[in-house]
């Protein structure tokens, strides 16, 4: 892109630069979504985990949180279960 001079970009901190920022964030996000291996198993996973836990403790659906975080070289499967206070 050396073709284009960019001395103009300096002074414009206007809606155009806002548009650019928003697009860059959005598109980066959409691309990372696409590259996720299989986020579609998450709901099922969440459901099954909930089932297992319920054998021992009663937890609510909203107390189980499953997440996949994308790292540079690896993805992290994050599992967050909030146990109720006075169970057992």
């Amino acid at each position: 892109m050396g073709l284009f001079s960019f001395f103009k970009t300096e002074k414009k901190k206007d809606t155009a630069s806002l548009a650019k920022e928003r697009l860059q964030i959005l598109i980066a996000h959409e691309h990372s979504d696409k590259n996720k291996k299989s986020p579609d198993y998450l709901p099922k996973l969440q459901e099954e985990i909930l089932e297992v836990i319920r054998k021992y403790v009663h937890v609510d659906e909203k107390d189980v949180n499953v997440n996949v975080e994308k790292g540079d070289d690896f993805d992290v499967l994050e599992l967050n279960i909030t146990l109720p206070d006075e169970e057992k």
């Binding site: 103009k8 809606t15 548009a19 650019k20 697009l23 959409e30």
Partner: protein, 270 residues
């Protein structure tokens, strides 16, 4: 060797048909036998933009269904030699297009010695758009300097890179970014994305920038591809696009803000 070029964008109303008409007419004017196909089944408009709406007898779907021959359906342009238009069907639904049918029409055009087959895609990412891009060797992505258009272009690029025939065979479609409705004055004023911004975001090579121009509406009013209006900035910019596509090195024009120039009220669109 004939080449199939899809003109696509994802978003509607950004200038796909205008660009297809101009591009195809420009290629033909340079002596290349060119066909331009309207893939917008049910909402055909290329015929109107090219001023041949009253000469449509048979259409693309008729040919696919064997109700007419390709020769019967192709409309030969009266202004430009070597230019042929294949209109879309106005009555059928989008499912009328299928891979086999589209491929057979494209192959027949190739066998008939067409150098370039320009596929004017409908908006969206559904069947018609998919069919228009599936057999493409190259793609022209028409983008307005506006957030939703840029985002949709990115989306379409993803589809080109994953679901086209070329991609399925492990190859790549050559991509060209065409920015339309560009207002250098508004870019200068900071309220329009600059071409550099768009190139940076989409990261595909730029083939041209078409300035916002009253000539585009006048051309469509009269059914003439705007590239034939050689006086207009838009016409000249399209003609540069054709030259660049054919391998010439042509500097970008009409991209600098001008002190006093028309197109001032135009800018309130959308």
């Amino acid at each position: 060797m004939s080449k199939v070029i899809v003109v696509t964008s994802g978003k509607g109303g950004v200038g796909k048909t205008t660009s297809s008409a101009a591009f195809a007419a420009g290629l033909a004017a340079k002596g290349h036998k060119t066909a331009v196909i309207d893939f917008d089944v049910g909402l055909r408009n290329l015929d109107l933009i090219m001023g041949v709406e009253r000469r449509v007898v048979y259409d693309f779907v008729n040919v696919i269904n064997g109700e007419a021959t390709l020769k019967q359906a192709l409309i030969k342009d009266k202004r430009v030699d070597n230019l042929y238009i294949l209109p879309a069907s106005q009555t059928r639904d989008k499912d009328a297009l299928n891979k086999e049918g589209v491929e057979s029409v494209i192959n027949e055009l190739k066998d008939d010695g067409f150098d370039y087959i320009v596929c004017d895609s409908p908006a969206g990412i559904e069947r018609g758009a998919f069919m228009a891009l599936y057999f493409a060797d190259e793609a022209i992505i028409v983008t307005n300097p506006e957030v939703s258009s840029v985002r949709d272009s990115d989306r379409i690029l993803g589809i080109l890179q994953s679901r086209s025939k070329k991609a399925e065979e492990g190859g790549t479609i050559k991509e060209h970014l065409l920015i339309t409705r560009y207002s250098p004055n508004r870019v200068e004023g900071g309220d329009m994305l600059s071409m550099d911004d768009i190139v940076e975001i989409l990261s595909i090579p730029l083939i041209g920038v078409i300035p916002e121009s009253g000539a585009v509406l006048q051309a469509s009013n009269s059914g003439n591809p705007v590239i034939l209006d050689t006086e207009s900035t838009a016409g000249q910019a399209y003609s540069d696009v054709v030259d660049r596509f054919l391998g010439e090195e042509v500097a970008l024009r009409f991209i600098e803000a001008e002190v006093e120039k028309k197109g001032f009220f135009k800018k309130l669109f959308g």
